[in-house]
């Protein structure tokens, strides 16, 4: 634990651009040297509402991608869904605005040391961190397949340049407005078997992660999922973001998803106990 958040800093970050992409906003921030310490799976916590805001807590967003090349030096990209007041405020920030960010936070996806067959599954804006992850996996010689799903097409985030870093991409929409009609888990067993998947990386709504976990466990596939629990502090001090996780001795521990996550071993999360069956509103 003492290694986690070791490089986290609170810095002012300029908004370099803010573009609408489907239902989301793609926001590019100038974060300088911190990019060096950002890994796929890490997140950023942002103050919202400006000075004297009644919204006193930061909002968490997965780091979609970082780059240390380009005219502005180190940059970080976020994919933000305008959900409630805080994320809507963020989406309304124009080029030139300054944000108060703390990053990089939390655990990162574990990268295999050997080339393996990896399946990346994203739900909604959950695809955001997967493209950066795909690049890293490709660089390690992995085969990278990707499945994205959402209720409808505008909620699918799949940038052109991102598609280049994967070997295959399947899209599912529940309203059949694009790709396959249905959910990412509909043919998951078949895909795992056919493509000889060794490891699944996932990010998206908790219900999706839970469904993937049960399939992955039953087929003995490693499953690293980035969870999303409501977080008050994002830095491990408040205990609000906990998830029930099964320990080696079979007992349950409540682990902080901000600091002992957001990337967790899907097989260990006691999904049936999450929120005592009541789901956190995504």
């Amino acid at each position: 634990m003492s290694s986690i958040n070791r490089f986290a800093k609170q810095i002012p970050a300029h908004v370099l651009s803010n573009k609408r992409v489907g239902q989301y906003h793609q926001i590019l921030l100038n974060i300088g040297d911190l990019v060096k310490h950002c890994h796929p799976g890490n997140f950023v916590a942002i103050s919202v509402g400006g000075d004297n805001s009644g919204m006193i807590l930061r909002r968490a967003f997965a780091i979609s991608r970082v780059s240390d090349r380009g005219e502005y030096g180190g940059t970080m990209e976020l994919i933000v869904a305008p959900h409630g007041a805080g994320s809507r405020w963020l989406c309304s920030q124009q080029e030139g605005a300054t944000l108060d960010v703390v990053t990089p936070l939390g655990s990162a996806f574990g990268i295999p040391t050997e080339p393996v067959n990896a399946l990346l599954i994203g739900g909604g804006y959950g695809s955001a961190p997967l493209f950066g992850l795909a690049e890293v996996l490709k660089a390690r010689g992995c085969r990278v397949d990707m499945i994205l799903g959402a209720s409808s097409t505008p909620k699918i985030y799949a940038p052109l340049e991102g598609k280049r870093s994967v070997n295959s991409l399947k899209i599912y929409t529940e309203d059949a407005t694009s790709g396959i009609h249905g959910r990412v888990t509909d043919s998951l067993r078949e895909i795992i078997a056919q493509d000889q998947i060794d490891v699944i990386y996932s990010c998206g709504p908790m219900a999706m992660l839970s469904a993937i976990s049960s399939i992955a466990s039953s087929m003995d596939v490693v499953h690293q999922c980035a969870v999303e629990e409501a977080m008050a502090c994002g830095i491990g001090v408040c205990m609000t973001c906990v998830l029930p996780v099964t320990k080696d001795d079979g007992s349950i521990a409540m682990l902080r998803s901000c600091i002992e996550g957001p990337v967790m071993d899907g097989a260990k999360v006691a999904w049936n106990l999450v929120g005592q069956g009541r789901e956190v509103k995504a």
Binding site: M1, S2, N5, R6, A8, Q10, S47, G54, M55, I56, L57, R58, V102, E229, A230, A232, C233, G234, I235, G236, V237, C238, M239, T240, C241, V242, L243, P244, I252, A253, M254, I259, V274, G275, Q276, R278, V280, K281
Partner: protein, 320 residues
């Protein structure tokens, strides 16, 4: 800090170089905040209330943001006193942090047992006794909401501790008369009081149309409650001007902390503000010192309770 200004404070016999403390439950066991600033640079770390046994706490969701505040319903999740003494205290001591240990129990006996376990542990500056817990022996009524239960807990802890460690009783604002509770715990042996714990609140989720928190009700904290905290501090200081008070509730800037000092607090804990700003406590510490100096105080102590003095007196007159 220059030598001309004395920023130190005392709670009972315990001395602290600055009056800024973490708030119990808002800094976990200290390690996590240490990524953002050295713990030894603040007055003390007040650890999350520890119970006898390990506890999983309440179901999620455990929090809800509210206007300028938040509700939490953690349910005192924690490792239990054994693991805490084995792992957390030594780490804090190694890192030169001053440590105030917060304890919580479900029975009077449990508090006493915790005190016994902690009595001889080296490196502890004071005990904060969190009595905002349901008393299982009294229909689950929160200790701090009942004069006799509050007294009984402090009395039990005091007997075990003897005169060794200062005991700070942490009170709930959810009472009709906080002064009488404060008097009761002082009478039972508390060296000081911590004011205030969270206010009982609730949020209904308008989508599920049910209470939002897994635990239904939660504790309201943050800037929203600051006027209630300042009032409680002012009232208790007025009744017992010599009693050390650790003030807290919505402090996020030096000016907020100054309000509490002037109202009568000898120290200030920063809780919820650290969630929005991991350096909040350092920022508060720096700004408070500046504000005190600007107003002509040459020590923190000369400003404690200043709002009670008659309107003509100036800081200088109190420096004698």
């Amino acid at each position: 800090m220059s030598s001309e200004f004395d920023y130190s404070t005392k709670l009972g016999t315990a001395w602290f170089p600055t009056p800024l403390f973490t708030a119990s439950g808002c800094a976990s066991s200290g390690r996590e905040l240490a990524q953002f600033f050295p713990l030894k640079s603040i007055g003390a770390v007040v650890t999350k209330s520890i119970m006898l046994k390990p506890r999983l706490g309440r179901p999620t969701p455990r929090m809800s943001e509210t206007p300028s505040g938040m509700l939490n319903s953690i349910g005192l999740q924690g490792p239990g006193i054994d693991a805490f003494i084995a792992n957390d205290i030594p780490w804090l001591v190694e890192n030169s942090a001053r440590v105030v240990v917060s304890i919580a129990g479900e029975t009077v006996e449990e508090y006493a047992t915790l005190a016994r376990r902690l009595r001889s542990v080296p490196g502890i500056s004071a005990l904060e006794v969190n009595i905002s817990c349901p008393n299982v022996e009294n229909r689950g009524l929160v200790f701090a909401c009942d004069l006799d239960s509050s007294r009984a807990v402090i009395d039990g802890v005091r007997r075990i501790i003897g005169g060794d460690l200062p005991i700070i009783a942490k009170l709930s604002p959810d009472v009709t008369d906080i002064v009488s509770i404060a008097k009761g715990v002082v009478d039972a042996g508390a060296d000081g009081v911590a004011l205030i714990n969270t206010l009982l609140g609730m949020v209904i989720n308008i989508d599920t149309m049910r209470p939002h928190l897994g635990g239904k009700t939660g504790g309201l904290s943050g800037p929203a409650i600051r006027p209630v905290a300042v009032r409680a501090i002012y009232q208790v200081h007025e009744a017992m001007p010599k009693l050390p008070i650790l003030g807290m509730g919505g402090v996020r800037s030096g000016r907020d902390a100054l309000e509490m000092i002037l109202a009568g607090a000898s120290g200030v804990s920063v809780g919820t503000a650290s969630f929005g700003n991991p350096h909040a406590i350092i920022d508060v510490q720096t700004e408070l010192e500046r504000l005190l100096r600007e107003r002509g105080f040459d020590s923190l102590r000369s400003a404690v309770g200043f709002a009670h003095r008659d309107a003509q007196s100036a800081p200088d007159e109190d420096l004698s």
